[in-house]
């Protein structure tokens, strides 16, 4: 029979350990104001697809055929090879990974093959990937795509914010290629301020900022003349980061383990004495 004191001791130790573990589990996050970001001013975009072409070249795929420039041919969706493209909505909308501040894909990956780097980019480590494709399911913007035709080592394809170029102090390839100033690279805090300043200065030209607080905020921020829902952005996403929804459940695991462990052990003791 477990004595009362022993039981109390065990519970106290358990609780303290748990509290310690919770501290450990809380991750250090990058400062959202300092991390790399891009402001996409959709009112300036002419849909020339120079960004799309630059992205393909930088990622090592064939460039767009010359006939495709402008409103021509080409993948009109994200694929393993097309990590950004110009979506023909009411106005041209550039699509790519939004680089969420608290990405769902990073939180769901069981082997940490996806990582939110301190400088901002969400990058994919293909050598860690097991191919469960949970990231593809979990992404609220449907960004990660899969190399379905690779039988042995299929990879996830998504925009990596040109993390290698950023590390060298350069801007992402698409930003560097943009001829109209639609894309502006900088720090998130400053770009957000600038977006608000533009909105305030020309309320007739701009209607909405997208990316400030959706799913906890994204590193790519859009400034548009119409409501984001009309431009093909997902509707009904919460403002809180999605990983919080899951963490509510996962964080209860230690309590279940200790609680059930105590109850079941007690049951075993009780039943052994009875029989």
């Amino acid at each position: 029979m477990i004595s009362r004191r022993k039981f109390l001791q065990a519970s106290a130790t358990g609780t303290l350990t748990l509290l310690g573990a919770r501290q450990l589990f809380a991750e250090s996050k990058a400062d959202p104001r300092e991390c790399a970001a891009v402001l996409v001013d959709l009112t300036r975009c002419i849909g020339c697809r120079a960004c799309e072409n630059a992205c393909r070249v930088r990622a090592g795929f064939d460039p767009l055929p010359p006939a495709a420039i402008g409103y021509g041919e080409g993948d009109r969706k994200l694929t393993f090879r097309t990590r950004t493209f110009i979506d023909r909505q009411k106005v041209p909308v550039k699509r790519q990974c939004m680089h969420c501040l608290e990405p769902a894909c990073v939180s769901v990956c069981p082997v940490a093959a996806l990582e939110k780097t301190a400088s901002g980019p969400v990058v994919y480590h293909e050598n860690l990937c097991i191919g469960c494709r949970y990231c593809i399911l979990a992404c609220p913007f449907n960004v990660p795509k899969y190399e379905w035709d690779n039988a042995l080592m299929p990879r996830v394809g998504k925009c990596d914010f040109c993390a290698d170029r950023l590390a060298k102090g350069q801007s992402p390839a698409c930003v560097a290629a943009c001829p109209t100033g639609t894309l502006k690279f900088g720090k998130r805090g400053e770009l957000l301020q600038e977006a608000k300043a533009r909105l305030d200065a020309q309320p007739g030209r701009y209607a909405a900022i997208y990316g400030e607080d959706v799913v906890g905020g994204t590193s790519w921020i859009y400034l548009a003349a119409t409501a984001p829902e009309e431009l093909g952005f997902p509707v009904g996403l919460p403002k809180k980061p999605l990983p919080q929804l899951t963490w509510k459940a996962i964080s209860k695991v230690p309590f279940v383990v200790i609680g059930l462990g105590l109850i079941l052990s007690a049951a075993v003791r009780w039943r052994t004495r009875e029989t």
Binding site: P110, L137, P140, L242, S265, T275
Partner: protein, 414 residues
């Protein structure tokens, strides 16, 4: 290259078919079929496993894109859904082990072994078998052991299932050890079973609910008929329900087929234990859907509405039997009530992992014939192994954990 692929596929088909022949031969007591009925059974399995062999070799030679209907739009298909179904079905294993080893309910001692074996096979076929087929990099399946990411539900599920498979091995081991006559090892395994069962109950509670938590991250994709902040709780309760139903189903069927006597009270008691859980589950689901104003979705999407209605009907109709004392006391009715419950819980898993995701993901996914036959092959493999174990292992000689271990083993070796 094409010739090589053909060769590979032919080998797959032949291996599948010969495995089917061998399995059928063993199952029918090392005999070839004598009458039409069993010939049909043989042919069915031979064709199925032949197709399964073709499907598997194609999948490993060509990749997921070539043989499945999966796409960037719908990345998780029937193989992932089958994992959810198989694990829900296998919940009877931890329930029965808990009732026998922890609560020492004598009534259930006889059904422990068949139910634990069925659970073991459920995990092997779905969690292990289906996952190895489904993972893009199946050869990296071991990675979660060394690369930890504790924010991921899938990581938690992977660890729980891995550890629980170990627990099931320990629970299943005595049957095998008795057969080969290693009684000292058997006694040792028996002595350490209780702590393992406690771990098994904890692990099962965790991963049965976590399979629901997997979908917490997609509030904008899973239809509100199934998406709920309480989905882990719903998955856990429904796993308990399907666990009781599965225990009824497996024990009734195996004892009847192999002509072993089974006390009728076993089935009716399990059914009585299942009834309040079923009532609680349905009540909570209704309250949950009402509080989120989600009933409109039953009418908004015809397929999803139909699937939801069917799920609810499968889970409610057994109550008419279970709540009527005149019927619930009969084992035939208990068995009849268990079947729609199992199908209902499995349909719930299919709805969560497949049907309920279709509208928001703008997808039109239906499993390809290879996905279907591989899944059916895995299920039939589980059934075949169960049949073989029932035939060749001491599956119906029950260990009695209430008595001293030496006594048990002496009884077993006698």
């Amino acid at each position: 290259m094409n010739g090589l692929l053909m060769l590979f596929r032919i080998v797959g088909v032949l291996v599948g078919m010969s495995a089917a022949v061998y399995a059928c031969w063993l199952l029918s007591g090392r005999q070839f079929p004598k009458h039409l009925g069993s010939t049909f059974g043989w042919l069915l399995l031979i064709v199925l496993w032949g197709l399964g062999g073709y499907g598997l070799t194609s999948r490993y030679a060509l990749g997921l894109g070539a043989v499945t209907n999966l796409s960037d739009q719908f990345p998780w298909g029937i193989w992932k859904a089958f994992i959810l179904c198989g694990i829900a079905f296998a919940a009877g294993g931890f329930l029965t082990a808990c009732m026998v080893y922890i609560f020492r309910i004598r009534l259930f001692y006889p059904i422990l072994r068949p139910v634990v074996l069925a659970a073991y096979l459920g995990y092997m076929m779905s969690a292990a078998g289906s996952l190895i087929v489904d993972l893009g990099r199946y050869h990296q399946i071991w990675r979660p052991i060394f690369y930890w990411q504790h924010h991921s539900v899938l990581f938690e599920v992977a660890w729980c299932v891995m550890l629980y498979s170990g627990v099931l091995t320990v629970e299943f081991a005595p049957i095998l050890l008795e057969k080969i006559g290693w009684h000292r090892t058997g006694r040792f395994v028996h002595a350490i079973t209780v702590p393992f069962v406690i771990c098994g109950v904890i692990l099962s509670t965790l991963h049965q609910s976590s399979l629901g938590s997997l979908f917490l991250i997609v509030p904008n994709k899973l239809l509100p008929l199934w998406y709920s902040p309480f989905i882990p709780l719903f998955f856990f309760i429904s796993a308990l329900i399907s666990g009781f139903a599965m225990a009824i189903f497996v024990s009734a069927l195996s004892f009847w087929i192999f002509h072993k006597p089974l006390e009728p009270r076993v089935l009716t008691t399990l059914a009585k234990a299942m009834t309040p859980l079923l009532l609680i589950y349905l009540f909570l689901r209704v309250v949950d859907i009402t509080s989120r104003n989600a009933w409109v979705y039953v009418f908004r999407y015809p397929l999803q509405g139909f699937s939801f209605t069917l799920e609810m009907m499968l889970l409610t109709t057994p109550l008419f039997v279970l709540l009527r004392t005149r019927w619930s006391g009969r084992r035939r009715w208990a068995f009849a009530a268990a079947i729609p419950v199992i199908v209902g819980v499995i349909l719930n898993r299919l709805n969560v992992a497949w049907i309920g995701l279709l509208p928001a993901m703008n997808a039109n996914y239906v499993p390809s014939w290879i996905e279907t036959t591989v899944t059916l092959s895995l299920i039939s493999l589980g059934v075949v192994i169960f049949g073989l174990a029932a035939r060749y292992l001491p599956l119906f000689e029950h260990a009695t954990p209430g008595e001293s271990h030496t006594e048990v083993m002496a009884h077993a070796s006698a």
